[in-house]
């Protein structure tokens, strides 16, 4: 591989952030355009990787390996390495991140310089976590990505931003610390931090000691479950979302939550397959509870952002159910649903941001009859709503369907309950839509707020277009992820061959 594409994708934003930092605050215009340009360039590079990725080629492509910290204890790599590479799953996540970033920047056009630079650093953290193939490197990015999000919520958030940001970071770090302990134990046992080697060796090394596997799995799993968030580790999410600025919510829902599901796919399941099988009933149960519980909680909300936050709990429940379904269809659906949720929930937060900027309100009661005042906005909101409730023809359906379809053969009862989420999703989303858009205009001062502006369409239309595209051609994603996902799924099948 000639050009270190993944390294460029990962570090371009941080580099730009560093270079932009000395500029005076008044130079906001330059920072804005530079940030947009850099994120678009990253999207271009990620797009290149997407098209150059050969679904039938090596499992991991675009690999780069460099020795980073020498340590003779660590065979065969002689130390901690800077290794990056993508398989189908990380490719999908990387492109999703690259796609959402310019939109988030464009939606933050009015924000100060520091905000945009923080977003750029955030992108480096996320990209790094998705492409890292060294466990140590992964952990560095995993923690590094928390800081910008902490700042986004804590500095530029709503009235309760301090509470929300502290809760967010403490909760996540509790999980991270557990994971760190497990990482250190696992890496010293196997003598390497290399993820691919660990995936091959750990199951064999730990085959004889199920208790060790269980504890290590749980340490990873709790960390990821907090991030997902899996019921009952979800209560940081509504607070964080409500207080976060629009771009923060978009990235939090669109990308950061996927770190959790990604962690299960990349580390927890392949490292500790016996434990993963052992805990599958528990995780399936929690996912199903999350689907129904999240939907019920969404029904009870009167703050639009909180409603969307709880709907994320339900949607991520679908992802987790699919990942632990033990079938290719279910896990593929789970991965696709990760992408879909990033698009539809990202779009919902972008849309809420539009009216929030206009009115500084986001309560359901603060609006009413908006379809008459904002017809274009109402149309876009309708499409995204339909995507969120899984209408066939849009992206949400394929993911949700594959998850349920794939989990039915192994977990029919859980699937039946999870399918109720399809009904409940329609209940809370259509209620939201009705209350905000239909009927007479409830507040006279809203008559004059005007429809979406061209500047808003610039970031709303691409995401809506992708929502439709993936509904019609989901194979664009599925074909690239199939091989990697099927390797993960093999770990969960009862006839898994122990080495």
């Amino acid at each position: 591989m000639a050009a270190p594409l993944l390294t460029l994708i990962t570090f371009l934003p941080a580099l730009a952030g560093l270079l932009l930092s000395p500029l005076k605050a008044e130079k906001g215009g330059i920072v804005r355009f530079a940030a947009l340009f850099v994120t678009l360039a990253v999207l271009g590079l990620a797009g290149a990787v997407w098209f150059l990725f050969d679904p039938k080629g090596d499992p991991i492509q675009f690999r780069e390996d460099h020795l980073w910290i020498r340590s003779l204890y660590l065979t065969p790599t002689k130390g901690i390495t800077y290794s990056v590479g993508v398989d189908g799953i990380s490719l999908a996540m990387m492109v999703l991140t690259a796609f959402l970033m310019p939109l988030a920047i464009r939606a933050s056009w009015h924000q100060p310089k520091g905000f945009l630079i923080t977003l750029l650093f955030l992108e480096t953290g996320m990209m790094g976590a998705f492409v890292a193939l060294d466990l140590f490197l992964f952990y560095v990015f995993w923690e590094a990505m928390l800081i910008p999000m902490y700042l986004l919520i804590g500095i530029w958030g709503g009235p309760r931003r301090i509470y929300a940001s502290v809760k967010f970071i403490l909760y996540t770090i509790v999980g991270s610390v557990l994971m760190l302990a497990a990482i250190l134990y696992a890496a010293t046992q196997a003598g390497t931090f290399d993820v691919v080697t660990l995936q091959g060796q750990l199951p064999r090394l730990l085959a004889g000691s199920p208790d060790t596997q269980y504890w290590l799995f749980l340490a990873f799993a709790v960390s990821f479950a907090i991030k997902v968030p899996l019921f009952p580790f979800h209560t940081w999410l509504p607070d964080a979302h409500v207080e976060a600025p629009t771009a923060g919510s978009v990235i939090l829902a669109g990308v950061l939550l996927k770190m959790g599901t990604y962690g299960f796919l990349r580390f927890a399941i392949p490292f500790f397959p016996d434990a993963a099988q052992h805990f599958t009933p528990l995780i399936v149960a929690l996912s199903t509870i999350g689907i129904i519980y999240g939907s019920l909680m969404a029904m009870a909300q009167s703050d639009i952002k909180k409603l969307v936050a709880y709907s994320s709990v339900a949607h991520l429940g679908f992802c987790m159910l699919g990942i632990f379904s033990g079938t290719l269809q279910g896990a593929q659906g789970g991965v696709l649903q990760m992408v879909n949720h990033g698009l539809s929930t990202g779009a919902l937060f972008l849309l809420v941001g539009v009216i929030y900027e206009k009115t500084h309100r986001r309560g359901v009661d603060d609006f009413g009859g908006m379809a008459k005042v904002m017809p274009v906005y109402a149309t876009l909101f309708m499409i995204v709503t339909l995507s969120s409730i899984g209408l066939p023809g849009l992206n949400g359906f394929v993911g949700e369907f594959l998850v349920l379809f794939g989990s039915f053969p192994n977990h029919p009862t859980a699937t039946a309950f999870a399918s109720l989420g399809v009904v409940l999703g329609a209940v809370y989303m259509l209620k939201l839509y009705r209350d905000v858009f239909f009927g007479p205009v409830t507040r006279p001062e809203r008559e004059k707020i005007g429809d979406v502006e061209k500047g808003d369409l610039a970031y709303l239309l691409p995401i809506v277009a992708l929502i439709i595209l993936l509904g019609v051609l989901p194979n664009l994603v599925l074909s690239r992820t199939e091989r990697s996902v099927s390797a993960v799924v093999k770990n969960l099948q009862p006839d898994r061959v122990s080495h």
């Binding site: 809760k167 403490l170 909760y171 009952p232 209560t235 940081w236 519980y293 019920l296 909680m297 029904m299 009870a300 909300q301 079938t327 290719l328 269809q329 593929q332 659906g333 009859g369 379809a371 008459k372 339909l386 209408l391 066939p392 023809g393 359906f397 394929v398 369907f401 594959l402 349920l404 379809f405 039915f408 053969p409 192994n410 977990h411 029919p412 009862t413 699937t415 039946a416 399918s419 109720l420 399809v422 009904v423 329609a426 209940v427 259509l430 209620k431 009705r434 858009f437 239909f438 009927g439 007479p440 019609v472 051609l473 989901p474 194979n475 599925l478 074909s479 199939e482 099927s486 009862p494």
Partner: protein, 669 residues
């Protein structure tokens, strides 16, 4: 011809995109809106002529979902069954589009209306033509979306938007069943393609969650779950409640979606899945639900005063007949009724729309009357539709309803559930004749205002507020050619369509389900059953019409009618007028508890238990422990020295205790 197949659904889709994305002037907008469906109709006819030689026309457009064994292309298939349906959908659909040009002419959402209507045509055609149950589900949900959008078309009134939401969510409950049905089908057949599934036998046993499950049991559940889906879309007990409310939409929508096409999708789906239902025990459940629905909705229709509500409950009732036909195992009878019902119910709805239009938005039949003299042409076509609905011998409705009664009657000797169902259906047929007669008499024959409610209380609960157009008592608004022409075509079809299609359709559809298995002495018994049922059909028609005519026509206002209306009839009427309070029962047993429960759980479990006690509680404990320990860090040298000594002594004591048996300290050696 097969390479043109994709155009049938895609042409209306193009119409939707053009009208949806561009702001066109009205004339262009309606030409675009009507061109798609009409062109689809033409292609459908061409394709239909092709399949007459029992040659299915298939086309795979592109690969939609493929994951492992699951491979779902966007594939279309025209066989006799879908061939009949596309003709009905595009034919009746085109007529209704033309009618809408005039009907919706003054509406500010003119282009939006045609865009939605076109999107509906696309979805309905995908539903019909889809070659796998998953693609059918795409259309199935698509028509549901269009129904939602069109019921709430006049969204500025929350009542309309609520009716749309109710329709969508009730249908979602059905979809829950549909999805589980699809999962069961996959477990059974490892396929979702109709032709592939039909070609496979149900396996003896299936692996599910590590257990052996009998294939027949799973097939039963698959059939039942799919029927739940059908109950949602096709408004059967217990999911019928959305359809009467759906009348909040513009009348052409009621005609196209909520009478002629979409609501029959459940019947079509079960006919499509005939290989699953043949000889299935589910059919006893289906026929019972169907007959109960037909009877109950027929009863409610008697006591409605909104012209569209009468027709809506009538539709629910007629859908019951269609399901009974499917349940009998003679699938063609159900499909036959789908077709004839599309003719006469579209006619009745469009006719009702013309009446409403003529009266400037009035929908309450008690304020109508005497329209027969003022609008004779409209009255004539409406009566043609009414006669077909009521089942006048030799009209379309008579043939199809009779075929269903025969089929159910014959099945009664095999399965116990069919006997009572047959009786209920016969009674429903009588009710149909009765309420249809009532409707026609009150709207067209009586003097205006003859059925004004005697007291305000009597009309409480049925506020049929005018919804369409402006309300005023000016001149009658006479229907123009664009309205009358579609009505005339449908009137001809309603009168003669049954006679013309009865035998040909049965023959034509035979390849879809093959020869039905009948006992040896079938032919003779069949003739007997047929003769008996024709007789019964004629009798109930005569009784129903006569009763309606006596009560609402000839003897209206007589003392004994009044006494009945004031006495025993009043309570019954009250119960029927309020639709057996089913909506209220659902509200208080399901909807309100769900809403309340969500809020209570949110507060008690999410806020208090999880967030405050567990999550923040952990934080507080850490904080409190840290705070307490902090007090020991006083910074005073004295305290530090004392605690150092205390610690050192404690450590020594601990080590000494550990080695108390030997009294030999390890570091001394």
């Amino acid at each position: 011809m097969s390479h043109l197949l994709w155009l049938i659904p895609v042409l209306p889709l193009a119409g939707f995109l053009v009208n949806g994305l561009l702001k066109l002037p009205k004339p262009v907008s309606c030409i675009v809106g009507c061109a798609g469906p009409i062109a689809s109709f033409v292609i459908s006819v061409l394709v239909f002529l092709r399949i007459h030689g029992h040659q299915d026309v298939v086309q795979t457009v592109f690969s939609w979902i493929s994951v492992g064994q699951l491979n779902v292309p966007f594939g279309l298939r025209v066989d006799p069954l879908s061939g009949v349906m596309i003709l009905v959908v595009t034919g009746v659909g085109s007529l209704i589009h033309v009618y809408s040009i005039s009907y919706m002419h003054d509406d500010e959402g003119f282009s939006r209306f045609f865009a939605y209507l076109n999107l509906f045509m696309f979805s309905m055609l995908v539903l019909v033509l889809g070659d796998s149950i998953l693609l059918m589900f795409v259309g199935w949900e698509g028509v549901g979306l269009c129904s939602y959008l069109l019921i709430g078309f006049w969204y500025k009134e929350l009542k309309n938007a609520d009716a749309g939401k109710k329709a969508f969510i009730t249908n979602r409950v059905g979809d829950f069943g549909f999805l589980l049905g699809v999962f069961c089908l996959w477990a059974l057949y490892k396929d979702v393609n109709f032709a592939q599934m039909a070609g496979k036998a149900i396996p003896h046993s299936v692996q599910l969650a590590g257990h052996e499950v009998s294939g027949d049991a799973l097939a039963f559940w698959a059939g039942l779950f799919l029927f739940i889906g059908a109950c949602g879309k096709s408004a059967q007990i217990p999911l019928y409640v959305w359809l009467p409310d759906a009348m909040a939409g513009p009348t052409p929508v009621s005609a196209l979606i909520h009478a002629a096409t979409m609501v029959t999708a459940g019947v079509y789906m079960m006919a499509r899945m005939n290989f699953l239902y043949q000889g299935s025990e589910v059919l006893s459940i289906v026929v019972t639900i169907a007959a109960l629905t037909a009877f109950m909705a027929g009863l409610i229709a008697v006591a409605q005063n909104d012209i569209k509500k009468v027709l809506a409950y009538s539709t629910v009732s007629q859908l019951g007949f269609m399901f009974a036909g499917i349940a009998s195992g003679d699938f063609h009878t159900g499909m036959f009724h789908v077709v004839t019902h599309a003719f006469f119910k579209a006619l009745l709805f469009l006719g009702a729309g013309a009446v409403i239009h003529a009266l400037h938005g009035e929908q309450d039949i008690r304020k109508m009357g005497g329209l027969g003299k003022k609008l004779p042409a409209l009255a004539a076509v409406f009566v043609a539709g009414a006669l077909a609905l009521a089942g006048l011998p030799f009209t379309a409705g008579f043939f199809s309803k009779d075929a269903i009664l025969v089929a159910v009657f014959e099945q009664a000797s095999v399965q116990a559930a069919f006997g009572p169902a047959w009786l209920l259906l016969v009674a429903s047929a009588g009710l149909t004749a009765f309420y249809t007669t009532r409707l026609v008499l009150i709207v067209f024959l009586d003097a205006p205002g003859a059925h004004r409610p005697p007291s305000p209380e009597a009309s409480a609960g049925s506020h049929a507020a005018p919804q369409e157009g402006d309300h005023g008592h000016g001149e009658l608004h006479k229907p123009g050619l664009l309205i009358m022409a579609p009505l005339a075509i449908l009137a001809v079809a309603s009168l003669f369509g049954g006679y013309l299609l009865d035998r040909p359709m049965e023959e034509f559809l035979k390849p879809v389900w093959g020869e039905e298995k009948h006992p040896l002495n079938f032919a003779a018994a069949h003739d007997h059953a047929h003769a008996l049922n024709i007789l019964v059909s004629c009798i109930v028609f005569a009784v129903g019409v006569t009763a309606g005519w006596v009560i609402y026509g000839r003897a209206a206002g007589r003392d004994w009618v009044k006494r009945f209306a004031e006495g025993g009839g009043k309570k019954m009427y009250w119960l029927l007028e309020n639709k057996f309070f089913v909506d209220e029962i659902y509200e208080y047993t399901i909807i309100a508890p769900l809403k309340m429960g969500a809020t209570i759980v949110w507060f008690l479990v999410d806020r208090v238990l999880i967030d405050t006690i567990l999550v923040n509680g952990t934080g507080w404990i850490v904080y409190a422990v840290g705070g307490a320990l902090r007090r020991t860090h006083t910074g005073s040298i004295n305290v530090a020295v004392v605690s150092f000594l205390a610690g050192a002594l404690a450590l020594l004591a601990f080590v000494a205790y550990q080695f108390k048996d030997t009294w030999q300290l390890p570091f001394l050696h």
